[in-house]
């Protein structure tokens, strides 16, 4: 969708992703992240016009988990605030829409997920059709494996290509202090590992991560005042596909392609892309759907294979892409977030330095 007003990302902060956050609760995880984002943007909490968050009660394992998280914002006096039960990337979309109306100039977006409180592969299985599919208890990794198998059967990818994605993700993550998995691995060595759920090996799957993220948005002059080099949102769109796995070609992501076209991904050279692919084979599907050439610096942060706090990992992709634009290492960046089994729902955002 074409923006109706100039809106930019002006700050991004995230907690280091860890396997298990024992000591801090959601509020304690969010507080420093939100404070850092405000500080980067040079804003006080009173100057924030709109607040939107993303999280999931099923991740935390109790209803209304977003309610207490509001304590991390310090919503007194009262604020204009809302919550999507989705990845924080969609909260950012909502904030972008709100800023587009013109009467509010700044927005705080945050997300959190302590995935370690449950078994993510089983918890995510609860997303399925509750009458015909969920009772069969397929878990998230098995569903991804089904998709990976379909991709192999299509002849468009190999297990070695999966391993190459995993090796590059971990290598890139060495430069990311917030990543959970990193290091130098040879694809050949990775292929020696046993299957977790064939054809996926452990390195093809995301780590279980706890983490939080905050992003500041600002419009027009407010954005220019907040930072020397805002990451302007040039286009953002999201699309969903039917839920039924048998109703989709699992080897392709038409919703990503549609969102990418609407966001204008192809209307210029892409320097960096941060793609939310929790499973290695999904990066291959998404690269094709986004139309990214081999020259694009793909997932320099290491991506979701290096750190995957549920409901935060998509917003982190947008933040990582924006950070590179703000830092000057990229002029034009693409960020992507996904939700649902086998890439059912996808969001694409195009970020640019000043025109």
């Amino acid at each position: 969708m074409k923006p109706t007003r100039e809106v930019a990302i002006v700050a991004f902060a995230q907690s280091p992703s860890v396997r298990r956050e024992w000591a801090r609760d959601d509020v304690e995880l969010l507080l420093p992240v939100i404070q850092e984002a405000l500080s980067q943007a040079g804003l006080s909490k009173e100057e924030v016009g709109f607040t939107a968050s993303g999280s999931s009660d099923f991740v935390t394992g109790l209803p209304f988990s977003f309610v207490l998280a509001l304590d991390a914002v310090g919503a007194s006096p009262p604020i204009e605030e809302t919550h999507v039960e989705m990845d924080g990337a969609w909260a950012l979309y909502e904030a972008w829409v709100r800023l587009s109306l013109g009467d509010v100039d700044t927005a705080l977006v945050y997300a959190f997920g302590r995935s370690s409180l449950g078994e993510p592969r089983d918890v995510l299985g609860m997303q399925l059709d509750p009458y015909y599919v969920a009772p069969l208890a397929p878990d998230a990794i098995s569903l991804a494996a089904l998709q990976a198998r379909a991709l192999l059967d299509s002849g468009r990818a190999t297990e070695r290509a999966f391993a190459e994605v995993a090796a590059r993700s971990r290598r890139n993550a060495k430069a990311n202090p917030n990543a959970q998995r990193s290091g130098d691995f040879l694809p050949e060595a990775l292929l020696d590992a046993p299957y977790l759920v064939a054809p996926l090996r452990r390195h093809d799957c995301p780590p279980i991560s706890d983490g939080a993220v905050a992003v500041m948005l600002a419009a027009g002059e407010k954005a220019r005042a907040a930072t020397a080099r805002p990451a302007w949102i040039r286009g953002i769109d999201h699309r969903i596909e039917p839920h039924g796995l048998g109703m989709r070609d699992l080897t392709r992501s038409p919703s990503t392609a549609l969102a990418a076209a609407n966001a204008g991904v192809g209307q210029g050279r892409v320097d960096v892309a941060e793609v939310h692919a929790p499973f290695s084979h999904q990066e291959l599907i998404l690269r094709e759907a986004l139309g990214l050439s081999g020259e694009v610096d793909l997932n320099p942060s290491g991506g979701a294979l290096a750190a995957n706090p549920l409901m935060s990992a998509g917003l982190i992709r947008i933040g990582e892409a924006a950070r590179r634009v703000m830092a000057g290492s990229a002029r034009r960046a693409v960020a992507h977030a996904t939700s649902g089994p086998c890439l059912q729902q996808n969001l694409v955002c195009v970020l640019e330095a000043a025109p």
Partner: protein
């Protein structure tokens, strides 16, 4: 900001158990009626916004993923909102914003709850570390606030009973209402069991299965709509934390701020004079006088007088909840949207037997959490 209108409203039949429909079937019942009201099909819809209260109510994580098919959302944008009890209202506001930003021509807003697929008492009793274990359902949380209100205002003890009788009588005029209690009376309410002192069984909302849907549209699309239109004059949302020192939970600042912002945007200087009818989120009887004060219809500690005088009944000076309100129908995630939708029906003149004569300006109100999340809108027959 571009204009936005309500051109279609639909709701399901509400009941304690809708064993005859799946989640998708329940949602489609409301969606199909809203589309029929707007003379549109799912193909005419550009984007969908879905709201409901916690996923633990039905045990489906992010059910918008599963419901994408029945909402005809394949290849469209679909957003899922969750702001506790206020979610029905904030879902509608999200949809309004998509129109106002000029992104879409027609947006479908949907909210639902199928409480029979869960145990609401359990789902409403979250156990946070370091918190006192007093969260025995919503009534356990709100009854002390009601006691504080009675002590503070000096209201006579029968005000809650009056609200309960009035709203149930209104519900008899609404074919979609869950509770139809033909024998409702002061005696029936007074003699019903005390659940959370001072709230009796019949001063408490039911648990309902139900859904609500609205078609919101741009000005251009609204001009082509076959039926009457409700223009969205203003929306507002405010949140504050559950607890902090000095928080007034009886008359929360977030609610007062939200109403003040709403009235300013809608050009309302005297709510009691300028608003013809209001659908307020009253899940327990005493919240009617409490919200009358919070929303500026009455001075602090004076709201109960409007109820006592009959001003809030159909035919009174300011009818409140002519649909029967949350006290008669409570599919939690949809309850807020039902308030917004009923307000729209009133100004469209389509509220049937519970229509307020000549209603031109209506307020829809929702709240959630520990009286901390507020979403409201003003709809009107004419554009501002």
């Amino acid at each position: 900001m571009k204009p936005c209108a309500v051109i279609g409203v639909g709701q399901s039949r509400h009941a304690s158990r809708r064993d005859d429909v799946s989640l998708a079937g329940l949602v489609r019942e409301a969606v199909d009626r809203a589309l029929s009201d707007a003379a549109l099909t799912l193909e005419d819809i550009d984007a969908v916004v879905l709201g409901k209260a916690p996923d633990t109510f039905e045990g489906v994580m992010m059910p918008e993923l599963y419901l994408a098919d029945c909402l005809g959302a394949g290849s469209k944008p679909l957003l899922r909102v969750h702001t506790a009890g206020s979610v029905g209202g904030s879902t509608a506001i999200m949809a309004v914003n998509l129109i106002r930003a000029g992104l879409h021509s027609r947006v479908l807003a949907v909210a639902f709850e199928k409480q029979s697929e869960s145990e609401a008492m359990w789902a409403l009793s979250p156990k946070y570390p370091f918190q006192p274990p007093l969260l025995a359902g919503a009534g356990g949380y709100f009854a002390p606030l009601v006691r504080a209100y009675i002590r503070r205002s000096g209201a006579p003890p029968d005000i809650g009973v009056r609200v309960a009788v009035k709203d149930r009588k209104h519900a008899l005029l609404n074919p979609y209402a869950h509770l139809h209690l033909p024998d409702i009376s002061t005696e029936a309410v007074t003699n019903s069991a005390m659940l959370w002192d001072p709230l009796r069984y019949l001063e408490t909302c039911p648990s309902s299965d139900g859904a609500c849907a609205m078609v919101l549209s741009s000005e251009e699309a609204a001009r082509r709509a076959p039926g009457p239109i409700a223009w969205v004059r203003a929306t507002a949302m405010r949140s504050e934390p559950t607890m902090f020192a000095g928080r007034d939970q009886v008359n929360p600042q977030a609610g007062r701020d939200c109403a003040a912002a709403l009235y300013k945007l809608a050009g309302i200087t005297s709510p009691r004079r300028d608003i013809d009818v209001a659908e307020l989120y009253v899940p327990f009887s005493w919240f009617e006088p409490m919200w009358l004060e919070n929303l500026g219809f009455a001075e602090p500690n004076e709201g109960w007088r409007m109820t006592a005088e009959g001003a809030t009944a159909l035919g009174g000076a300011l009818p409140i909840n002519p649909s029967g309100g949350v006290l008669s129908t409570n599919p939690i995630g949809a309850s807020g949207m039902l308030r917004f939708a009923e307000a729209a029906l009133q100004v469209r003149g389509l509220a049937g037997a519970h229509q307020v004569d000549g209603a031109k300006v209506a307020l829809g109100h929702a709240y959630g959490g520990g009286s901390q999340f507020f979403s409201m809108w003003i709809v009107a027959r004419q554009q501002l």
